[in-house]
Assembly symmetry: C2
Amino acid sequence: MMLGPAIELGLPATVLATDPAESAAAVAGEVRIGRHDDEQAVRGLAEAVDAVTFDHEHVPAAILEALEAEGVAVRPGPAALVHAQDKLVMRERLSALGHPCPRWWRITSAEELVDALAQAGGRLVVKTPRGGYDGHGVRVISDPAEVADWAAEHDELLAEELVPFVRELSAQVARRPDGEAVAYPVVQSLQKDGVCYEVVAPAPGLDEAAQERIQSLALAIAEDLGVVGMLAVELFETADGTVSVNELAMRPHNTGHWSMDGAVTGQFEQHLRAVADLPLGATTPLAPVAVMVNLLGGEATDLVPGMRAALALEPALKVHLYGKGVRPGRKIGHVTLLGEDAEDLLARAHRAETLIIHGVKEQR
Amino acid sequence: MMLGPAIELGLPATVLATDPAESAAAVAGEVRIGRHDDEQAVRGLAEAVDAVTFDHEHVPAAILEALEAEGVAVRPGPAALVHAQDKLVMRERLSALGHPCPRWWRITSAEELVDALAQAGGRLVVKTPRGGYDGHGVRVISDPAEVADWAAEHDELLAEELVPFVRELSAQVARRPDGEAVAYPVVQSLQKDGVCYEVVAPAPGLDEAAQERIQSLALAIAEDLGVVGMLAVELFETADGTVSVNELAMRPHNTGHWSMDGAVTGQFEQHLRAVADLPLGATTPLAPVAVMVNLLGGEATDLVPGMRAALALEPALKVHLYGKGVRPGRKIGHVTLLGEDAEDLLARAHRAETLIIHGVKEQR
C-alpha cells in the first residue's frame, strides 16, 4: 500500500522481500530478495536507497544500529523502534515518562508471576515481550501453568492488569526527523479474536477536548521516543473516559487504513513523506465519518465475484485487496466507506465484507 | 498512474513498454519490453493478461482487430478506438450521429483546401488525421502553402472552422462492456501552447441543466461508439452556451486528473474497473471545487527542492510526479487542491507549480 503513493510522489521505492511471491514483491518495480533478519540483505538494500523504513517491526535492532552508526538513514531509528519491538522496554519507558499505562509487572520467575497474579486479583494478561502480533503472544491467565511453556522459553515476560475498558481507541501521528508532527483524528477500533476488525473515524462520542488530549498524548510519545514516520498508539478507554496505552506501532497501521480514502493525506503517503523528510500533509478528513472493515479470509478463495457484487451494491465503496492467498482469518484486504452516519456505514461495509469473503453464493 | 489503483483493487497489471526506462516500466511489477506497433509484442502481452487497454491511442488498429477476432478482450475495442485515432473518422461519425461539431472539410487536394478556406472566411484549423497530440499536428492557416508539407505527406487532411469559443470544457464518462456508464462533473480546461494546463472541476458557472446536457452528450457518444473504459470529450463552449466536440480520448485524460484526489473514484481506478468489467464507482466530488494544474518542465531538473517548498506552503496539496526526465514544456507531473473558491485554489496551485518547476531559488 506504500507503493501507490511512492509512484505518485515520484519517490522510487525498493522492496526487500523474503520471497518474490510476497504481495509487496509481486507489485513493486524494484525488488530485492532476502530476509529482513539477514544483515547482508538489509545492508544491500540500505546501499541502494536514501532511507530505509519498514512495514513490520521484526528487523533486528543490532542490524539497524550498525547501519545507523555508518550513517544510513534508518527511519524510524532503532532507538525509537525498540519501543514497538519490545513490550517490556515500551512499558518501562512510557511509565518513566509518566504516560498512562495499565499496571504491569516484569516477570522473570514463577514467584513473580504468582505475586503479580495475587496483586492483580487473580487474573493477568501475559505477553511475550517480542514477536507478538494480532493476538499472538498474548494470553489471559489465572494460573501460572497457563504460560509454563513461555516461561521455559523466555527470560522475561510482561504481565499486565486486565483493563476494564469500554472500547479501544487508536491515535495516529506522523513525525519528521526535525520534529515536525501532525495528528490524525482519534479513531475507535474493534478487535475480533485479537485482530483489528472495524474502525470508525473519528471515534464516535469523543468530544473535541478528549480528541485533543489524546492527540497530544500520541504526539508527546512520538516526540519522547524520537519516532520518524507514522506512529499508532493503541489505547484502552475506560468508563470514566480515561485512556491508557495498550500497544505502539511505528508504521502505517491497520487502524489508520481509513485515511487512505478518508483523509487528504493517507497514512502511507504520510509515512513516506516523513521518512523522505518532506513536509507532512494535511490530516483533514474528507467526510464527517469514515468506516473501515477488514476482510478476514473466509470461504471464498476467488474474491472477484464477491467484490463485483459488493461494488454493484455500493458504488462509493473503496475496496483494497492485498494480493495474499486466502486463509481463514487472515487479513486479505479491507473496505472503506465515507458518509455521515457511522451505524449505517458500518452496516453497509459489513454487508460488502460478507459478500467479498464468503462469496456471492452465500447471499442467495 | 493506473498502477496504484491496480495494486489496491488486486488486479495484477502488466505493462508493455518500449524501453525499461519509461516511467510506467520503471515502477510496474510486471513489464514486457516491446513496441506498441509490433504485432508480436502486443500479442505477447495479450497472451499474458485477461484484458488489454491503453494509455495512448497509437496501437495500430490492424493489430487490435486481429487480436479481437481471436477473442482477446481489447478495451476499448478497435472499432471504438478508431474515433480517437483518426480525426476524420471521428468527424464523419459524430456528424452522421448528429452530435455537435465545428464545420469541417475532408481535404484531399489543393483545390479542396482553397474552397474550404473561402467557405470558412479565409482561416482554417488544419489537422493531420492521425498521430497528433498536445498541439502537434494542428495548425491555424490562412494560406494553403502553410500546410504544403502535410499535403505532400498525407492523402487526407481534416480542416475545421475556427470556433469562436469562450472556453474549453471537458466531459469524462466511463462505460463497461455491458453498457453501464457513469459521468463525472463537466470541467473547465485551459490550454497553454496547445497543452492542457489548468482544470477547474466542476466548470465554474455551468448550471445544473447545462452540466446534465453535456454529460448526456458524452454518455451518448460513449454508447454510440461502443467505448469501454474512460472517454474524455473535449468541447468548445461559445458565448451562447452551445458546445461542439473538439477531440475525443479513450483513456484516462489530463482533464480528468483532478478526480484522482477530488472524486470518490479516480479516473484511473474507474478505467480499470470498466476494462476489468467490474461495477463502476461513484463519481461524486470530495469537495465543492477541485483545481488541477499541470507541471510543465521548467528550469529545475531536480524537482524535490521545489516540491519540498510547495508542500511546506500547502499541506493539502496533492503532488503527482511522473518520473520523467525534465524537458522544457514537457508534462512532468501535476498538482491538485480541493476547496471552495476556484480563484483562490488556482492562485495557490500556480504558486506551487512555480516552486516545483522553477525551483526554490526563483522564489527568493
